[in-house]
């Protein structure tokens, strides 16, 4: 579903944020992406989502190259940044309709999906209010709903559990598992290693732009906790951003 080959990103000024990253997430897999602040997680996720340009490497989503067929690749995925800034001047329902229009979701389908996810996340009754009146958690939920109503094949999430209440976090984990059971894939970054260990089939550890461990969860943790493995692997490499 997602294949990243020799991806590198150097920012103006010379900082190499990601260096020769190779990674594959197959259909039906949830891949956790972990690393210290500034390790290159967000840069990678933004490049995969088509939000940030890159010149080195190849990224394919569902077989579509992000460079040669960006529209085709974006059609089958949904991206959620770590702090989703939404259009404050729109009502929640207007934002969902706007997104649904961009993804060509028919009226009946969007109504059904909005009702389902809106009710599950307990946001339906607030959809008539401007996004500017939402709390951080409500915005996060709205952004999640806008991603889920697309029925994406690949979900790219940057710190999706930050700001969510326990109930919404639980729901989200269920949806991620469900998406994978239906043949989709999830690639997400997190600092909550317990969640990553429970949820992910695969895990990738990145440090200073380089992938230092990557494999199935069983291979990487080998009977230990992910936290222990992560701390040992990345010892001395924190906060080089």
């Amino acid at each position: 579903m997602l294949s990243i080959e020799h991806f590198s990103k150097t920012y103006p000024g010379g900082k190499r944020a990601v260096d020769d990253l190779n990674l594959v997430v197959h259909a039906g897999e949830i891949c956790g992406f972990i690393g210290h602040n500034g390790a290159g997680k967000t840069t990678t996720l933004r490049a995969v989502a088509g939000v940030m340009s890159y010149t080195e490497g190849t990224i394919r989503v569902d077989g579509k190259d992000l460079h040669t067929d960006p529209v085709g690749a974006k059609k089958v995925m949904a991206f959620l940044p770590d702090n989703p800034d939404l259009y404050d001047y729109m009502k929640g329902i207007d934002y969902l309709n706007f997104i649904a229009d961009l993804y060509d979701i028919p009226g009946d389908d969007r109504t059904r999906r909005i009702a389902r996810y809106g009710d599950d996340f307990q946001l339906t009754e607030a959809l008539g209010s401007p996004i500017g009146s939402y709390s951080h958690g409500m915005k996060q939920k709205l952004a999640l709903i806008s991603a889920l109503i697309r029925k994406p094949k690949l979900l790219i999430l940057d710190e999706p559990f930050v700001g969510l209440d326990p109930q919404a976090s639980h729901l989200l984990k269920g949806y991620l598992a469900q998406l994978c059971a239906q043949g989709g894939a999830v690639f997400f970054s997190t600092h909550v290693l317990e969640v990553a260990q429970k949820l992910c089939h695969k895990v990738a550890i990145i440090q200073e732009g380089k992938l230092i461990r990557y494999g199935t969860m069983e291979e990487v943790v080998a009977g230990e906790s992910l936290e222990d493995v992560f701390l040992r692997q990345t010892a001395g490499g924190a906060d080089h951003a």
């Binding site: 103006p12 000024g13 933004r46 989502a49 088509g50 939000v51 340009s53 960006p70 529209v71 085709g72 974006k74 059609k75 949904a78 991206f79 940044p81 989703p84 800034d85 939404l86 259009y87 001047y89 729109m90 929640g92 329902i93 207007d94 969902l96 309709n97 706007f98 997104i99 649904a100 229009d101 961009l102 993804y103 060509d104 979701i105 028919p106 009226g107 009946d108 969007r110 109504t111 909005i114 009702a115 809106g118 339906t124 009754e125 607030a126 959809l127 008539g128 209010s129 401007p130 500017g132 009146s133 939402y134």
Partner: protein
């Protein structure tokens, strides 16, 4: 005092950063300095043109001391108009407000530090404006070269005056609109009322100025300008009076704002949230309709965006109505001026060209996406859809005004039907050229990290360069008028201009689809 100094420092660097004069790379700083130099140069040129022609005229009537009075009045009006929409944004819609209000500083210190940007902006414009005035005045014997030492201090004081006017307007508007649930709508209506008042006041002022009524020059509203003139002549009492009349109201209005500051900010930040929404069947629409709808929502939701880029259309509509109401007088005037003067088609083309150059929502449209640009960049949109929606919004806004106002003005001013049609075609062609041009400018000079829309709309390099590029677009039209004024009964040059604008518009569109798409990806 140390805290206030720290606040001022932060505001000052924030302003420099917003204007691309600090931070970022060298290219960014050079572009910021270039834009500032361009704005200063423009003010200098305008001021020099008026100062030297007025000084000659006034010297002949033995009224050369009226020059600094008139020019400082003009400068204050110009600066106040420039700051009017900015003051509300600078004071009341900055992203770091929650943080700032939590600091252990008084609201007055906070307000004063926030308006520093406004004051420095006015100081720069006034300073540049007054240099040619002082020179023309001195050359006509109004003052001695030694009086130059009084110029900086007098300008430092006078620069508070436009701030007072803009802050007062911004404060009152925020105070009222904060109390309504539809804040943007109320704010827009209030701005409309304010503009109507300014237009009415300007017409009345203009009438009195041109009649050179002595009562006008000694009236109370003119006192600060009289004291300014006398201060330039090194009269200490007038300098003290000028200081009092400029600084005290500034402090007073800042104090009044600070008394209500947290309350207004809280009200402005609060939205009426409802939790009774019932989901009904939703309907789908195409990409373009969704995108254009979003552009319009944002356009009418941000007052400064609406008025700064839409004031030209308002002027066009007012001009058309005024032309119809004063049709007979205008035609009589044209007959008196005779064929020696500029043909009416050229006057109308100049007016419409000026309006179109001023009406460029696209020149800050990408910058206004700000932190929300990720939504569009991650969506499966082709570049033509994204750019097309922004251009489409501008054209949907502009074209109805052109289609109605240009023929009406043409009829009122007695141009032939063929000339009116040619004018309309040229105007529409220019609109098709200005819209993509604004996007090209904004792609080259993006400002995605602005603390509020005011910085993007009022202070960003793209807005100013877009405006200047719009004026520059009028030059080929003027050249064609000079070369072929009589071809096809005066329609030939308009047709040629239309063809030229359409060609440039197509080239700009092609640029957007190729290089522009890559530039957008880089943002």
């Amino acid at each position: 005092m140390r805290k206030f100094g720290a606040l001022l420092k932060v505001s000052f660097w924030g302003m420099l950063y917003a204007m691309n004069l600090a931070g970022g790379n060298r290219k960014r700083r050079i572009s910021g300095a270039g834009v500032l130099a361009l704005a200063g140069g423009l003010m200098l040129m305008l001021s020099a043109t008026y100062s030297f022609s007025f000084s000659t005229m006034l010297a002949q009537q033995g009224m050369v001391d009226m020059l600094p009075m008139l020019m400082s009045l003009l400068a204050v009006i110009l600066c106040a108009a420039f700051s009017l929409f900015g003051a509300q944004g600078i004071l009341f819609s900055t992203r770091d407000m929650d943080l700032a209000l939590s600091w252990p500083v008084s609201p007055l210190q906070l307000v004063l530090s926030r308006v520093l940007a406004l004051y420095l902006e006015n100081l720069f414009l006034l300073g540049v404006w007054m240099l040619p005035v002082w020179l023309a005045w001195m050359l006509q014997g109004g003052c001695t070269p030694a009086a130059f030492i009084a110029l900086p201090i007098s300008v430092l004081l006078l620069a508070f005056l436009p701030c007072v006017l803009a802050m007062a307007a911004g404060f009152v508007l925020a105070l009222i609109s904060a109390r309504f649930s539809h804040k943007a709508l109320i704010n827009n209506l209030l701005y409309l009322l304010l503009l109507a008042g300014i237009f009415a006041g300007s017409f009345s002022l203009q009438g009195q100025m041109f009649q050179m009524q002595s009562a006008f020059f000694t009236s109370w509203p003119m006192r600060p300008f009289l004291w300014f003139t006398e201060a330039l002549k090194l009269q200490d009492a007038s300098l003290a009076a000028l200081a009092a009349v400029c600084v005290l109201p500034f402090l007073l209005i800042a104090w009044l704002i600070s008394r209500q500051y947290a309350a207004i900010l809280t009200l402005l930040a609060s939205h009426r949230a409802r939790f009774d929404y019932r989901l009904t069947r939703q309907h789908s629409s195409g990409h373009m309709r969704a995108l254009i709808g979003r552009e319009f929502r944002r356009y009418f939701g941000i007052s400064i965006y609406l008025f700064n880029t839409g004031i030209g259309l308002l002027l066009l509509a007012i001009g058309a109505v005024a032309a119809v109401l004063q049709k007979d007088q205008l035609q009589l005037l044209m007959a008196q001026l005779g064929s020696e003067s500029m043909p009416m088609t050229a006057v109308l083309a100049l007016t419409v060209g000026f309006i179109l150059a001023m009406t460029q929502p696209t020149s800050c449209s990408i910058s206004l996406e700000g932190e929300q640009l990720w939504i569009l960049k991650s969506a499966p949109l082709r570049p033509w859809e994204l750019f097309g929606s922004k251009i489409g919004m501008q054209l949907i806004l502009v074209l109805p005004f052109l289609v109605v106002c240009v023929p009406v003005m043409g009829w009122a001013l007695g141009v032939t039907t063929a000339q009116a049609v040619a004018l309309l075609v040229a105007a529409v062609a220019m609109a098709f050229c200005v819209a993509p041009m604004g996007l090209v400018v904004n792609l080259h000079l993006p400002k995605l990290d602005a603390p509020n829309p005011t910085v993007v709309v009022k202070q960003s390099a793209a807005t100013l360069v877009g405006l200047l590029a719009g004026f520059a677009l009028m030059l080929p039209g003027a050249l064609l008028f000079k070369l072929i004024p009589q071809v096809w009964n005066g329609c030939g040059w308009l047709a040629a201009a239309a063809a030229l604008y359409l060609t440039v518009g197509i080239l700009l569109w092609r640029f957007l689809l190729t290089r522009g798409a890559a530039m957008l990806e880089e943002l």
